[in-house]
Symmetry: C2
Subunit: 299 residues, 2 copies
Protein backbone atom coordinates (compact mmCIF):
# COMPACT_ATOMS: atom_id res chain seq x y z
CA UNK A 1 0.00 0.00 0.00
CA UNK A 2 1.56 3.34 -1.03
CA UNK A 3 1.49 6.60 0.82
CA UNK A 4 -1.53 8.23 -0.89
CA UNK A 5 -3.54 5.08 -0.25
CA UNK A 6 -2.86 5.14 3.46
CA UNK A 7 -4.07 8.73 3.55
CA UNK A 8 -7.34 7.64 1.92
CA UNK A 9 -7.50 4.62 4.23
CA UNK A 10 -7.19 6.85 7.29
CA UNK A 11 -9.57 9.50 5.98
CA UNK A 12 -12.29 6.95 5.23
CA UNK A 13 -12.09 5.61 8.78
CA UNK A 14 -11.82 9.07 10.29
CA UNK A 15 -15.06 10.02 8.52
CA UNK A 16 -16.83 6.94 9.87
CA UNK A 17 -15.64 7.81 13.37
CA UNK A 18 -16.77 11.40 12.90
CA UNK A 19 -20.29 10.29 11.94
CA UNK A 20 -20.46 7.78 14.79
CA UNK A 21 -19.44 10.48 17.29
CA UNK A 22 -22.09 12.83 15.98
CA UNK A 23 -24.76 10.12 16.07
CA UNK A 24 -23.91 8.79 19.53
CA UNK A 25 -22.89 11.78 21.67
CA UNK A 26 -25.80 13.40 23.51
CA UNK A 27 -27.26 16.31 21.45
CA UNK A 28 -26.31 19.89 22.29
CA UNK A 29 -29.80 20.82 23.40
CA UNK A 30 -29.89 18.10 26.05
CA UNK A 31 -30.20 19.68 29.47
CA UNK A 32 -27.83 21.15 30.63
CA UNK A 33 -27.19 22.61 27.19
CA UNK A 34 -23.97 24.39 28.17
CA UNK A 35 -22.42 21.09 29.30
CA UNK A 36 -23.37 19.23 26.14
CA UNK A 37 -22.20 22.16 24.02
CA UNK A 38 -18.83 22.05 25.76
CA UNK A 39 -18.58 18.28 25.24
CA UNK A 40 -19.30 18.59 21.51
CA UNK A 41 -17.17 21.71 21.11
CA UNK A 42 -14.11 19.80 22.30
CA UNK A 43 -14.86 16.51 20.56
CA UNK A 44 -15.48 18.26 17.23
CA UNK A 45 -12.55 20.66 17.40
CA UNK A 46 -10.95 18.70 14.56
CA UNK A 47 -8.74 15.86 15.74
CA UNK A 48 -7.12 13.29 13.47
CA UNK A 49 -9.05 10.45 15.14
CA UNK A 50 -5.89 8.34 15.27
CA UNK A 51 -7.25 6.11 18.04
CA UNK A 52 -10.49 5.26 16.18
CA UNK A 53 -8.48 4.57 13.01
CA UNK A 54 -6.19 2.24 14.98
CA UNK A 55 -9.13 0.42 16.57
CA UNK A 56 -10.68 -0.14 13.13
CA UNK A 57 -7.38 -1.27 11.61
CA UNK A 58 -6.87 -3.71 14.51
CA UNK A 59 -10.36 -5.16 14.01
CA UNK A 60 -9.45 -5.73 10.36
CA UNK A 61 -6.17 -7.43 11.27
CA UNK A 62 -8.05 -10.15 13.16
CA UNK A 63 -10.70 -10.65 10.49
CA UNK A 64 -13.37 -8.14 11.51
CA UNK A 65 -14.39 -4.85 9.91
CA UNK A 66 -13.78 -1.29 11.03
CA UNK A 67 -17.48 -0.50 11.10
CA UNK A 68 -18.00 -3.20 13.71
CA UNK A 69 -16.03 -1.25 16.30
CA UNK A 70 -17.46 2.25 15.85
CA UNK A 71 -18.86 2.40 19.41
CA UNK A 72 -15.31 1.71 20.61
CA UNK A 73 -14.09 4.50 18.34
CA UNK A 74 -16.52 6.80 20.16
CA UNK A 75 -15.33 5.56 23.56
CA UNK A 76 -11.67 6.15 22.68
CA UNK A 77 -12.24 9.63 21.32
CA UNK A 78 -14.31 10.66 24.35
CA UNK A 79 -11.62 9.45 26.75
CA UNK A 80 -8.88 11.09 24.69
CA UNK A 81 -10.80 14.39 24.51
CA UNK A 82 -11.46 14.38 28.26
CA UNK A 83 -7.71 14.01 28.86
CA UNK A 84 -7.01 17.01 26.59
CA UNK A 85 -9.62 19.21 28.30
CA UNK A 86 -8.22 18.48 31.75
CA UNK A 87 -4.57 18.80 30.55
CA UNK A 88 -5.33 22.27 29.20
CA UNK A 89 -6.79 23.56 32.49
CA UNK A 90 -5.08 26.48 34.25
CA UNK A 91 -4.06 24.15 37.11
CA UNK A 92 -2.33 21.87 34.59
CA UNK A 93 -0.72 23.09 31.34
CA UNK A 94 -2.79 26.29 31.23
CA UNK A 95 -3.17 26.26 27.45
CA UNK A 96 -5.32 28.82 25.63
CA UNK A 97 -5.31 27.14 22.21
CA UNK A 98 -5.89 23.58 21.07
CA UNK A 99 -6.11 22.65 17.41
CA UNK A 100 -6.29 26.31 16.51
CA UNK A 101 -9.29 27.05 18.68
CA UNK A 102 -9.66 28.48 22.18
CA UNK A 103 -9.56 25.68 24.77
CA UNK A 104 -12.75 24.59 26.53
CA UNK A 105 -12.10 26.50 29.75
CA UNK A 106 -11.44 29.65 27.72
CA UNK A 107 -14.86 29.39 26.06
CA UNK A 108 -17.03 27.82 28.76
CA UNK A 109 -15.17 28.65 31.99
CA UNK A 110 -13.16 26.40 34.23
CA UNK A 111 -16.00 24.72 36.12
CA UNK A 112 -17.83 23.63 32.97
CA UNK A 113 -14.53 22.50 31.42
CA UNK A 114 -13.75 20.23 34.38
CA UNK A 115 -17.30 18.83 34.30
CA UNK A 116 -17.33 18.39 30.50
CA UNK A 117 -14.11 16.38 30.84
CA UNK A 118 -15.67 14.30 33.61
CA UNK A 119 -18.76 13.72 31.46
CA UNK A 120 -16.72 12.61 28.43
CA UNK A 121 -14.69 10.20 30.56
CA UNK A 122 -17.88 8.79 32.06
CA UNK A 123 -19.52 8.48 28.65
CA UNK A 124 -16.42 6.89 27.15
CA UNK A 125 -16.18 4.22 29.84
CA UNK A 126 -19.93 3.57 29.77
CA UNK A 127 -20.81 3.63 26.08
CA UNK A 128 -19.92 -0.03 25.42
CA UNK A 129 -22.47 -1.10 28.04
CA UNK A 130 -25.42 0.72 26.41
CA UNK A 131 -28.13 -1.74 25.29
CA UNK A 132 -28.05 -0.65 21.63
CA UNK A 133 -24.29 -1.25 21.60
CA UNK A 134 -23.88 -4.29 23.81
CA UNK A 135 -26.25 -6.57 21.94
CA UNK A 136 -23.82 -6.54 18.99
CA UNK A 137 -20.94 -8.16 20.89
CA UNK A 138 -20.21 -11.07 23.21
CA UNK A 139 -20.63 -9.89 26.80
CA UNK A 140 -17.19 -11.26 27.77
CA UNK A 141 -15.53 -9.25 24.98
CA UNK A 142 -17.32 -6.09 26.09
CA UNK A 143 -16.15 -6.56 29.67
CA UNK A 144 -12.59 -7.22 28.47
CA UNK A 145 -12.69 -4.01 26.40
CA UNK A 146 -14.09 -1.94 29.27
CA UNK A 147 -11.38 -3.35 31.56
CA UNK A 148 -8.66 -2.50 29.05
CA UNK A 149 -10.00 1.04 28.59
CA UNK A 150 -10.29 1.67 32.33
CA UNK A 151 -6.79 0.32 33.01
CA UNK A 152 -5.32 2.38 30.16
CA UNK A 153 -7.05 5.55 31.34
CA UNK A 154 -6.35 4.82 35.00
CA UNK A 155 -4.04 5.80 37.83
CA UNK A 156 -1.09 3.66 36.70
CA UNK A 157 -1.17 4.54 32.98
CA UNK A 158 -2.66 7.66 31.31
CA UNK A 159 -3.22 9.58 34.56
CA UNK A 160 0.14 8.39 35.93
CA UNK A 161 1.83 9.83 32.85
CA UNK A 162 0.00 13.10 33.26
CA UNK A 163 0.83 13.38 36.97
CA UNK A 164 4.52 12.84 36.28
CA UNK A 165 4.47 15.18 33.29
CA UNK A 166 3.28 17.95 35.60
CA UNK A 167 5.35 17.07 38.67
CA UNK A 168 8.57 16.84 36.63
CA UNK A 169 8.16 20.29 35.09
CA UNK A 170 11.34 22.29 35.56
CA UNK A 171 13.11 19.43 37.31
CA UNK A 172 16.20 17.45 36.38
CA UNK A 173 14.87 14.07 35.38
CA UNK A 174 16.60 11.01 33.98
CA UNK A 175 15.81 9.04 30.83
CA UNK A 176 13.93 6.44 32.85
CA UNK A 177 11.39 9.03 34.01
CA UNK A 178 11.01 10.61 30.55
CA UNK A 179 10.32 7.16 29.13
CA UNK A 180 7.80 6.53 31.89
CA UNK A 181 5.90 9.68 30.89
CA UNK A 182 6.16 8.90 27.17
CA UNK A 183 4.99 5.32 27.69
CA UNK A 184 1.99 6.16 29.83
CA UNK A 185 0.68 9.59 28.84
CA UNK A 186 -0.08 8.64 25.24
CA UNK A 187 0.98 5.02 24.92
CA UNK A 188 -1.66 3.53 27.18
CA UNK A 189 -4.66 4.65 25.12
CA UNK A 190 -2.93 3.92 21.78
CA UNK A 191 -2.31 0.37 22.96
CA UNK A 192 -5.89 0.05 24.23
CA UNK A 193 -7.24 1.22 20.85
CA UNK A 194 -5.58 -1.72 19.13
CA UNK A 195 -6.24 -4.34 21.79
CA UNK A 196 -9.89 -3.39 22.27
CA UNK A 197 -10.53 -3.16 18.53
CA UNK A 198 -9.33 -6.71 18.04
CA UNK A 199 -11.00 -7.99 21.22
CA UNK A 200 -14.47 -6.72 20.36
CA UNK A 201 -14.60 -8.61 17.06
CA UNK A 202 -13.50 -11.77 18.84
CA UNK A 203 -9.90 -11.76 17.58
CA UNK A 204 -7.48 -14.58 18.31
CA UNK A 205 -5.61 -14.06 21.61
CA UNK A 206 -2.17 -14.47 20.04
CA UNK A 207 -2.84 -11.78 17.44
CA UNK A 208 -4.21 -9.47 20.14
CA UNK A 209 -1.01 -9.90 22.13
CA UNK A 210 1.07 -8.90 19.11
CA UNK A 211 -1.17 -5.87 18.61
CA UNK A 212 -0.61 -4.93 22.25
CA UNK A 213 3.18 -5.04 21.90
CA UNK A 214 2.96 -3.08 18.67
CA UNK A 215 0.69 -0.56 20.41
CA UNK A 216 3.25 0.07 23.15
CA UNK A 217 5.84 0.94 20.52
CA UNK A 218 3.45 3.01 18.42
CA UNK A 219 2.41 4.98 21.49
CA UNK A 220 6.00 5.93 22.21
CA UNK A 221 6.57 6.88 18.55
CA UNK A 222 3.48 9.08 18.67
CA UNK A 223 4.54 10.90 21.83
CA UNK A 224 8.15 11.35 20.71
CA UNK A 225 7.01 12.89 17.40
CA UNK A 226 4.74 15.14 19.43
CA UNK A 227 7.67 16.28 21.57
CA UNK A 228 9.81 16.81 18.45
CA UNK A 229 7.04 18.89 16.86
CA UNK A 230 6.99 21.08 19.94
CA UNK A 231 10.60 22.08 19.32
CA UNK A 232 10.65 22.18 15.51
CA UNK A 233 7.01 22.18 14.36
CA UNK A 234 5.11 24.86 12.47
CA UNK A 235 2.66 26.59 14.84
CA UNK A 236 0.26 27.34 11.95
CA UNK A 237 0.04 23.68 10.91
CA UNK A 238 -0.20 22.57 14.56
CA UNK A 239 -2.90 25.03 15.57
CA UNK A 240 -1.14 25.72 18.85
CA UNK A 241 1.90 27.45 20.25
CA UNK A 242 5.17 25.57 19.94
CA UNK A 243 8.29 25.52 22.11
CA UNK A 244 6.06 25.69 25.15
CA UNK A 245 7.43 22.45 26.57
CA UNK A 246 10.92 23.89 26.57
CA UNK A 247 9.78 27.12 28.18
CA UNK A 248 8.05 25.13 30.88
CA UNK A 249 10.92 22.73 31.39
CA UNK A 250 8.81 19.70 30.46
CA UNK A 251 10.54 16.34 30.78
CA UNK A 252 10.80 15.28 27.13
CA UNK A 253 13.35 13.24 25.19
CA UNK A 254 14.34 16.12 22.83
CA UNK A 255 15.03 18.29 25.86
CA UNK A 256 17.08 15.55 27.53
CA UNK A 257 18.94 14.18 24.52
CA UNK A 258 18.56 16.75 21.75
CA UNK A 259 16.47 16.48 18.58
CA UNK A 260 18.94 14.43 16.58
CA UNK A 261 19.44 11.64 19.11
CA UNK A 262 15.67 11.61 19.78
CA UNK A 263 14.92 11.15 16.06
CA UNK A 264 17.33 8.24 15.98
CA UNK A 265 15.52 6.61 18.89
CA UNK A 266 12.19 7.19 17.19
CA UNK A 267 13.30 5.64 13.92
CA UNK A 268 14.63 2.62 15.77
CA UNK A 269 11.24 2.30 17.50
CA UNK A 270 9.57 2.47 14.08
CA UNK A 271 11.71 -0.41 12.82
CA UNK A 272 10.94 -2.34 15.98
CA UNK A 273 7.19 -1.71 15.57
CA UNK A 274 7.35 -2.82 11.94
CA UNK A 275 9.16 -6.04 12.89
CA UNK A 276 6.57 -6.69 15.59
CA UNK A 277 3.51 -6.34 13.38
CA UNK A 278 4.79 -7.81 10.07
CA UNK A 279 4.27 -11.46 11.12
CA UNK A 280 0.51 -10.79 11.18
CA UNK A 281 0.61 -10.68 7.38
CA UNK A 282 -0.91 -8.49 4.70
CA UNK A 283 -3.87 -7.28 6.76
CA UNK A 284 -1.34 -5.51 8.99
CA UNK A 285 -0.01 -3.38 6.11
CA UNK A 286 -2.16 -0.38 6.99
CA UNK A 287 -0.75 -0.44 10.53
CA UNK A 288 2.80 -0.40 9.14
CA UNK A 289 1.91 2.59 6.94
CA UNK A 290 0.21 4.35 9.85
CA UNK A 291 3.36 3.88 11.92
CA UNK A 292 5.40 5.71 9.27
CA UNK A 293 2.71 8.37 8.96
CA UNK A 294 2.74 8.97 12.71
CA UNK A 295 6.54 9.09 12.82
CA UNK A 296 6.68 11.67 10.05
CA UNK A 297 3.60 13.78 10.66
CA UNK A 298 3.93 17.56 10.75
CA UNK A 299 0.93 18.32 12.98
CA UNK B 1 -36.23 -3.49 63.66
CA UNK B 2 -35.63 -0.77 66.23
CA UNK B 3 -33.40 2.24 65.96
CA UNK B 4 -30.28 0.86 67.75
CA UNK B 5 -30.43 -2.22 65.52
CA UNK B 6 -30.38 -0.19 62.31
CA UNK B 7 -27.30 1.60 63.57
CA UNK B 8 -25.59 -1.75 64.08
CA UNK B 9 -26.88 -2.93 60.70
CA UNK B 10 -25.36 0.08 58.96
CA UNK B 11 -22.10 -0.06 60.91
CA UNK B 12 -21.55 -3.74 60.10
CA UNK B 13 -21.95 -3.01 56.39
CA UNK B 14 -19.91 0.17 56.54
CA UNK B 15 -17.05 -1.84 58.06
CA UNK B 16 -17.26 -4.41 55.27
CA UNK B 17 -17.17 -1.62 52.68
CA UNK B 18 -14.22 -0.02 54.47
CA UNK B 19 -12.22 -3.26 54.35
CA UNK B 20 -13.13 -3.86 50.70
CA UNK B 21 -11.99 -0.35 49.76
CA UNK B 22 -8.70 -0.85 51.56
CA UNK B 23 -8.16 -4.24 49.91
CA UNK B 24 -9.11 -3.18 46.39
CA UNK B 25 -7.84 0.39 45.91
CA UNK B 26 -4.28 0.58 44.53
CA UNK B 27 -1.73 0.84 47.39
CA UNK B 28 -0.26 4.23 48.32
CA UNK B 29 3.24 3.29 47.20
CA UNK B 30 2.09 2.49 43.66
CA UNK B 31 3.77 4.86 41.23
CA UNK B 32 2.93 7.76 41.16
CA UNK B 33 2.77 7.66 44.95
CA UNK B 34 1.39 11.20 45.32
CA UNK B 35 -1.62 10.32 43.14
CA UNK B 36 -2.42 7.14 45.02
CA UNK B 37 -1.93 8.94 48.33
CA UNK B 38 -4.42 11.59 47.23
CA UNK B 39 -6.91 8.92 46.14
CA UNK B 40 -6.71 7.13 49.48
CA UNK B 41 -6.62 10.36 51.48
CA UNK B 42 -10.00 11.35 50.07
CA UNK B 43 -11.60 7.89 50.11
CA UNK B 44 -10.59 7.30 53.73
CA UNK B 45 -11.48 10.76 55.04
CA UNK B 46 -14.30 9.16 57.00
CA UNK B 47 -17.56 8.99 55.05
CA UNK B 48 -20.70 7.20 56.21
CA UNK B 49 -20.57 4.82 53.22
CA UNK B 50 -24.31 5.29 52.68
CA UNK B 51 -24.14 4.13 49.05
CA UNK B 52 -22.35 0.86 49.87
CA UNK B 53 -24.82 0.20 52.70
CA UNK B 54 -27.72 0.80 50.30
CA UNK B 55 -26.21 -1.50 47.67
CA UNK B 56 -25.82 -4.26 50.24
CA UNK B 57 -29.33 -3.73 51.62
CA UNK B 58 -30.74 -3.89 48.07
CA UNK B 59 -28.89 -7.15 47.38
CA UNK B 60 -30.50 -8.57 50.54
CA UNK B 61 -33.97 -7.41 49.47
CA UNK B 62 -33.79 -9.57 46.36
CA UNK B 63 -32.39 -12.63 48.14
CA UNK B 64 -28.62 -12.03 47.90
CA UNK B 65 -26.13 -11.06 50.59
CA UNK B 66 -24.37 -7.78 51.19
CA UNK B 67 -20.95 -9.39 50.92
CA UNK B 68 -21.73 -10.43 47.36
CA UNK B 69 -21.75 -6.82 46.18
CA UNK B 70 -18.62 -5.45 47.85
CA UNK B 71 -16.90 -4.64 44.53
CA UNK B 72 -19.94 -2.52 43.69
CA UNK B 73 -19.61 -0.85 47.07
CA UNK B 74 -16.06 0.07 46.08
CA UNK B 75 -17.22 1.37 42.70
CA UNK B 76 -19.91 3.55 44.27
CA UNK B 77 -17.62 5.03 46.89
CA UNK B 78 -14.92 5.82 44.31
CA UNK B 79 -17.42 7.59 42.05
CA UNK B 80 -18.93 9.44 45.01
CA UNK B 81 -15.50 10.51 46.28
CA UNK B 82 -14.42 11.73 42.84
CA UNK B 83 -17.51 13.93 42.70
CA UNK B 84 -16.66 15.42 46.10
CA UNK B 85 -13.03 16.14 45.14
CA UNK B 86 -14.06 17.94 41.96
CA UNK B 87 -16.94 19.78 43.70
CA UNK B 88 -14.52 21.13 46.28
CA UNK B 89 -12.10 22.58 43.68
CA UNK B 90 -11.47 26.33 43.60
CA UNK B 91 -13.24 26.57 40.22
CA UNK B 92 -16.33 24.92 41.74
CA UNK B 93 -17.37 25.32 45.39
CA UNK B 94 -13.86 26.25 46.56
CA UNK B 95 -14.13 24.38 49.86
CA UNK B 96 -11.19 24.12 52.26
CA UNK B 97 -12.69 21.51 54.58
CA UNK B 98 -14.49 18.24 54.02
CA UNK B 99 -15.40 15.89 56.85
CA UNK B 100 -13.26 17.94 59.20
CA UNK B 101 -10.11 17.60 57.12
CA UNK B 102 -8.43 19.86 54.53
CA UNK B 103 -9.79 19.09 51.05
CA UNK B 104 -7.63 17.22 48.55
CA UNK B 105 -6.54 20.29 46.57
CA UNK B 106 -5.53 21.99 49.84
CA UNK B 107 -3.22 19.09 50.69
CA UNK B 108 -2.01 17.89 47.28
CA UNK B 109 -2.51 20.93 45.04
CA UNK B 110 -5.12 21.53 42.37
CA UNK B 111 -3.55 19.49 39.55
CA UNK B 112 -3.21 16.34 41.63
CA UNK B 113 -6.73 16.85 43.02
CA UNK B 114 -8.23 16.99 39.52
CA UNK B 115 -6.26 13.92 38.47
CA UNK B 116 -7.05 11.98 41.67
CA UNK B 117 -10.74 12.65 40.99
CA UNK B 118 -10.31 11.48 37.39
CA UNK B 119 -8.53 8.34 38.61
CA UNK B 120 -11.24 7.48 41.14
CA UNK B 121 -13.96 7.94 38.51
CA UNK B 122 -12.02 5.72 36.09
CA UNK B 123 -11.42 3.10 38.76
CA UNK B 124 -15.04 3.19 39.89
CA UNK B 125 -16.41 2.63 36.39
CA UNK B 126 -13.82 -0.04 35.61
CA UNK B 127 -13.65 -2.09 38.80
CA UNK B 128 -16.58 -4.37 37.96
CA UNK B 129 -14.80 -5.48 34.78
CA UNK B 130 -11.63 -6.67 36.58
CA UNK B 131 -11.08 -10.42 36.13
CA UNK B 132 -11.03 -11.21 39.85
CA UNK B 133 -14.39 -9.42 40.21
CA UNK B 134 -16.17 -10.30 37.01
CA UNK B 135 -15.92 -14.06 37.35
CA UNK B 136 -18.27 -13.88 40.34
CA UNK B 137 -21.23 -12.50 38.39
CA UNK B 138 -23.19 -13.07 35.19
CA UNK B 139 -21.62 -10.96 32.43
CA UNK B 140 -25.03 -9.47 31.50
CA UNK B 141 -25.56 -8.32 35.08
CA UNK B 142 -22.12 -6.72 35.17
CA UNK B 143 -22.80 -4.83 31.95
CA UNK B 144 -26.18 -3.70 33.28
CA UNK B 145 -24.54 -2.44 36.47
CA UNK B 146 -21.77 -0.61 34.59
CA UNK B 147 -24.40 1.00 32.33
CA UNK B 148 -26.46 2.11 35.35
CA UNK B 149 -23.37 3.54 37.07
CA UNK B 150 -22.22 5.42 33.95
CA UNK B 151 -25.68 6.84 33.29
CA UNK B 152 -26.07 7.88 36.94
CA UNK B 153 -22.65 9.55 36.97
CA UNK B 154 -23.10 11.03 33.50
CA UNK B 155 -23.94 14.27 31.75
CA UNK B 156 -27.71 14.06 32.29
CA UNK B 157 -27.67 13.02 35.96
CA UNK B 158 -24.89 13.57 38.55
CA UNK B 159 -22.84 15.96 36.40
CA UNK B 160 -26.00 17.70 35.17
CA UNK B 161 -26.97 18.37 38.78
CA UNK B 162 -23.52 19.70 39.56
CA UNK B 163 -23.48 21.98 36.47
CA UNK B 164 -26.84 23.47 37.42
CA UNK B 165 -25.87 23.78 41.08
CA UNK B 166 -22.94 25.95 40.01
CA UNK B 167 -24.66 27.89 37.21
CA UNK B 168 -27.65 28.75 39.40
CA UNK B 169 -25.54 30.22 42.21
CA UNK B 170 -26.81 33.65 43.13
CA UNK B 171 -29.64 33.49 40.59
CA UNK B 172 -33.39 33.54 41.04
CA UNK B 173 -34.46 30.00 40.29
CA UNK B 174 -37.84 28.32 40.50
CA UNK B 175 -38.86 25.18 42.36
CA UNK B 176 -38.58 23.14 39.17
CA UNK B 177 -34.88 23.91 38.85
CA UNK B 178 -34.15 23.29 42.54
CA UNK B 179 -35.84 19.92 42.26
CA UNK B 180 -33.80 19.18 39.14
CA UNK B 181 -30.60 19.81 41.10
CA UNK B 182 -31.78 17.83 44.12
CA UNK B 183 -32.90 14.90 41.95
CA UNK B 184 -29.70 14.65 39.95
CA UNK B 185 -26.79 15.81 42.09
CA UNK B 186 -27.29 13.18 44.78
CA UNK B 187 -30.30 11.19 43.67
CA UNK B 188 -28.74 9.55 40.64
CA UNK B 189 -26.02 7.68 42.50
CA UNK B 190 -28.31 6.77 45.42
CA UNK B 191 -30.71 5.21 42.94
CA UNK B 192 -27.86 3.41 41.15
CA UNK B 193 -26.61 1.99 44.46
CA UNK B 194 -29.92 0.23 45.01
CA UNK B 195 -30.54 -0.83 41.41
CA UNK B 196 -27.00 -2.15 40.83
CA UNK B 197 -26.92 -3.94 44.18
CA UNK B 198 -30.04 -5.88 43.28
CA UNK B 199 -28.98 -6.39 39.64
CA UNK B 200 -25.61 -7.92 40.43
CA UNK B 201 -27.11 -10.70 42.56
CA UNK B 202 -29.58 -11.47 39.79
CA UNK B 203 -32.62 -9.87 41.44
CA UNK B 204 -36.11 -10.10 39.98
CA UNK B 205 -36.78 -7.22 37.54
CA UNK B 206 -39.99 -6.15 39.27
CA UNK B 207 -38.27 -5.80 42.63
CA UNK B 208 -35.41 -3.87 41.00
CA UNK B 209 -37.92 -1.43 39.53
CA UNK B 210 -39.44 -0.82 42.95
CA UNK B 211 -35.94 -0.27 44.36
CA UNK B 212 -35.30 2.28 41.59
CA UNK B 213 -38.43 4.27 42.43
CA UNK B 214 -37.58 4.11 46.12
CA UNK B 215 -34.02 5.23 45.29
CA UNK B 216 -35.28 8.34 43.51
CA UNK B 217 -37.23 9.35 46.61
CA UNK B 218 -34.42 8.46 49.01
CA UNK B 219 -31.97 10.52 46.94
CA UNK B 220 -34.17 13.59 47.25
CA UNK B 221 -34.59 13.02 50.99
CA UNK B 222 -30.82 12.75 51.37
CA UNK B 223 -30.12 15.97 49.50
CA UNK B 224 -32.89 17.93 51.21
CA UNK B 225 -31.59 16.91 54.65
CA UNK B 226 -28.14 17.99 53.47
CA UNK B 227 -29.49 21.39 52.49
CA UNK B 228 -31.36 21.69 55.82
CA UNK B 229 -28.17 20.81 57.71
CA UNK B 230 -26.39 23.60 55.91
CA UNK B 231 -28.75 26.15 57.42
CA UNK B 232 -29.31 24.61 60.86
CA UNK B 233 -26.59 22.01 61.37
CA UNK B 234 -23.78 21.91 63.89
CA UNK B 235 -20.45 22.66 62.16
CA UNK B 236 -18.54 20.53 64.71
CA UNK B 237 -20.68 17.45 64.03
CA UNK B 238 -20.59 18.10 60.28
CA UNK B 239 -16.83 18.62 60.00
CA UNK B 240 -17.34 21.54 57.64
CA UNK B 241 -18.54 25.11 57.59
CA UNK B 242 -22.31 25.62 57.55
CA UNK B 243 -24.47 28.34 56.03
CA UNK B 244 -22.13 28.46 53.07
CA UNK B 245 -24.93 27.64 50.64
CA UNK B 246 -26.89 30.69 51.76
CA UNK B 247 -23.84 32.93 51.54
CA UNK B 248 -23.21 31.69 48.00
CA UNK B 249 -26.84 31.95 46.94
CA UNK B 250 -27.08 28.23 46.20
CA UNK B 251 -30.37 27.07 44.73
CA UNK B 252 -31.75 24.94 47.56
CA UNK B 253 -35.26 24.21 48.80
CA UNK B 254 -34.70 25.74 52.28
CA UNK B 255 -33.52 28.94 50.61
CA UNK B 256 -36.52 28.98 48.26
CA UNK B 257 -39.27 27.85 50.62
CA UNK B 258 -37.84 28.20 54.15
CA UNK B 259 -36.83 25.43 56.53
CA UNK B 260 -40.30 24.63 57.83
CA UNK B 261 -41.95 24.09 54.46
CA UNK B 262 -38.88 22.14 53.27
CA UNK B 263 -39.09 19.80 56.27
CA UNK B 264 -42.76 19.18 55.48
CA UNK B 265 -41.84 18.24 51.92
CA UNK B 266 -39.09 15.95 53.18
CA UNK B 267 -41.40 14.16 55.61
CA UNK B 268 -43.94 13.64 52.87
CA UNK B 269 -41.17 12.16 50.68
CA UNK B 270 -40.23 9.84 53.56
CA UNK B 271 -43.84 8.58 53.79
CA UNK B 272 -43.87 8.15 50.02
CA UNK B 273 -40.59 6.20 50.09
CA UNK B 274 -41.91 4.00 52.88
CA UNK B 275 -45.11 3.24 50.92
CA UNK B 276 -43.02 2.41 47.85
CA UNK B 277 -40.70 -0.07 49.52
CA UNK B 278 -43.09 -1.73 52.05
CA UNK B 279 -44.66 -4.09 49.45
CA UNK B 280 -41.27 -5.83 49.14
CA UNK B 281 -41.87 -7.30 52.57
CA UNK B 282 -39.77 -7.84 55.70
CA UNK B 283 -36.41 -7.88 53.93
CA UNK B 284 -37.05 -4.23 53.06
CA UNK B 285 -37.27 -3.22 56.73
CA UNK B 286 -33.64 -2.05 56.91
CA UNK B 287 -34.28 0.27 53.94
CA UNK B 288 -37.29 1.78 55.74
CA UNK B 289 -35.15 2.36 58.83
CA UNK B 290 -32.33 3.82 56.73
CA UNK B 291 -34.80 6.24 55.16
CA UNK B 292 -35.74 7.56 58.59
CA UNK B 293 -32.09 7.68 59.62
CA UNK B 294 -31.20 9.71 56.54
CA UNK B 295 -34.12 12.07 57.04
CA UNK B 296 -33.16 12.75 60.64
CA UNK B 297 -29.36 12.62 60.55
CA UNK B 298 -27.40 15.44 62.13
CA UNK B 299 -24.23 15.15 60.03
Amino acid sequence: MTAPNIKEYMEARRDLAEKALDAMLPPEDNEPAVLHQAMRYSVFAGGKRIRPVLAMAAAEVVGGSGKQVLPLAVALECIHTYSLIHDDLPAMDNDDLRRGKPTVHKVFGEAVAILAGDALLTYGLGVLSLPEVSRTYRAENLLAAIRELALAAGSTRLIAGQVMDILCEGKDVDKHMVEYIVRNKTGALIRASLVCGATLVDGELERIEVLGKFGDLLGMIFQIRDDLLDIEGDPVKMGKAVQKDGDRGKATLPRLLGAERTEEIMYSLIRNAEDTIRPLGETANPLVQITHYIGKRVS
